[in-house]
Amino acid sequence: MKKLNKSTQKLITTLAVIVVLYIVMSIMDGTGNLSSLMSGLLVPVCAYSLVAVGLNLCVGYLGELSLGHAGFMCVGAFTSAFFSKLFQDSIPDVPRFILALVIGTLMAALFGFLIAIPVLRLSGDYLAIVTLAFGEIIKNVINVLYVGVDSNGLHFSIKDQMSLGMEPTGKMLVNGAQGITGTPRQSTFTIAVLLLIIALIVTHNFVNSRTGRAVKAIRDNQIAAETVGLPVTKYKLVAFTISAAIAGVGGVLYAHNINSLTATTNNFGYNMSIMILVYVVLGGIGNFSGSVIAAVVLTMLPEMLRGLSTYRMLIYSIVLIVLMLFNWAPAILKWREEHGITTAAIVGKFKKTKEVR
């Protein structure tokens, strides 16, 4: 009971901080006191945070390393953007966005589920490579996917625009490597924060529920979990699907915040998957609030370093290594404990609990 309270407390603190930050940011933005850079980063940061929270569910609680979460983000982004583009003129903004959100999330969940069925039979690095492979397949297929619409309806091709055979007046929805251009800009900071809060609550409640306990048991010792009668495959599927769905939400936000949605290695390929993994590990495996903090810090960092010009990415990489050592090296952790430089002291109340070992 006590432990449950502790983790709930932590969630409440996290949410409180987020809400306060939200209010401060909104006021600053509204009064023009927020720089364009910061204001432009609000939504992407939330989107990355969401994907990181989703991945953390997979890495921290299911105990499986996924290098393909950007793939689920990609699915969420493209399906929702496609929907929004297709019905741009026929459904009013609000219901269309809600529908797009639902569709993006469900599609990511569906892909998560379909991938999970075969993939979860594997373990460890084999699972990692298969998820990576999946992400790359998605990216590759989207890059050669051409969809257009004209008075005859939808046209698809995985070759090029010409083979769509569209009328000249037709509209391109997905244009291969150019992706989707002109998705309505509907992701607002408010929506993003709201979704992030929901995701944090959902994941928190999930890992502290009967199913979540079972998922953790499977992570800790699969054979023992089987001998106490847990349907291992089912729960792995459930956890992986939820994890993919949350990543999909991040994708929806991302897609509706940018005019040019393309699938490249950097934004939806393994580079992004790895970046998200960096957030998860740096923020603490199993620590959802930590993921959010790490996502915020690491998204901001290279932007803040812009003044350093060409040294920017070099410094960034050094900071990343140092942060990792600072947060994970046993010797440094011991030293920090002795000198009271704990995570708690650094980031206020965001402290690691026992369950996050």
């Binding site: 990343l320 050592l325 046993p330």
Partner: protein, 293 residues
């Protein structure tokens, strides 16, 4: 003849993957970490060869030896600074640090060598073999790469199986604490592993860029990922697996491009990978250890 040509192309691409994968597998097998910076060490190795050969006019062999020395030192330094402090932390932490190191090497190279590609002079001067009146050509690069690969594989297997340091590596890979109780210096062993892996990276760099001659600070990252895939494909941790995985990956990639779709070749390669892993969950030559209860 078409098929044979593609097969040969696949083999030569695959042999480069295999060569890189050997380094990956070496480090993974012993230190149990995915060294995502391996591809970037390869890039550094290639630059060193380039500087020696094209800028200073040294002979290819000397350049490669210098590059091996540099990369070995680099690998050991990286290990000492970035990985060793995390020895007792979760494997994921080291994985992330390796990513940091990868960024670092790329950006360092960007500062030093600039962003413009340089055209790499092949370290091999031999034209290669030509069959059926030139209809089927096997380049010297390909032949040398494949032979290098096989030789390295055999030497590594022999080394791990029959020498004391090799034995120590196997013990360390199984259980670091228990290895200490055997009198094995775990730190030295892991450092040696990195030294060997990085030395191989230098050779891989030279041969990679000999076959695919454009060198930029980012040259190592994609082959690195592909080789990682190849290593898993063959059964990660297995030395012959790296060779088999690399070769197969190259062949599949080329055949997919040749016969199915050049646009979707990447997707097809990964799809085949997924299917193979579903049938053989520990890769082609990976040993499947069932946990004894």
């Amino acid at each position: 003849m078409g098929f044979l040509t593609y097969l040969v192309n696949g083999l030569s691409l695959g042999s480069v993957y295999a060569l890189i994968a050997l380094g990956y597998t070496m480090v993974y097998g012993i230190a149990k970490m995915l060294n995502f910076a391996h591809g970037d060490v390869i890039m550094i190795g290639a630059y060193v060869v380039f500087m020696c050969m094209s800028n200073s006019g040294m002979p290819a062999v000397v350049s490669i030896v210098i590059s091996i020395v540099c990369c070995t030192a680099l690998g050991m330094i990286i290990e000492k600074i970035a990985y060793k402090p995390l020895r007792k932390a979760t494997n994921l932490a080291v994985l992330i640090t390796a990513i940091g190191v990868s960024y670092f090497l790329q950006n360092m190279a960007l500062m030093i060598f600039g962003s413009n590609p340089v055209s790499f002079t092949s370290v091999i001067n031999w034209e290669g073999l030509s069959f059926a009146d030139g209809a089927l050509k096997i380049t010297g690069n390909a032949i040398v790469t494949i032979i290098t690969c096989v030789v390295i594989m055999i030497v590594l297997m022999w080394f791990v199986k029959n020498t004391k340091p090799g034995q120590a590596m196997r013990a360390v890979s199984e259980d670091k604490d228990a290895a200490v109780l055997m009198g094995i210096n775990v730190n030295a062993t892991i450092s040696l592993t990195f030294a060997i892996g990085s030395g191989l990276a230098a050779i891989a760099g030279a041969l990679l860029c000999s076959s695919y001659p454009s060198l930029t600070p980012y040259t190592g990252s994609m082959p690195g990922i592909k080789a990682f895939t190849a290593a898993v494909f063959g059964g990660i941790g297995s030395i012959p697996g790296a060779l088999v995985g690399g070769l197969l990956l190259g062949i599949i990639e080329i055949l997919a491009r040749a016969y199915i779709s050049s646009q979707l070749a990447d997707a097809i390669v990964f799809a085949v990978l997924i299917i193979v892993l579903l049938v053989k969950p520990t890769g082609i030559l990976g040993k499947q250890i069932k946990e004894k209860v």
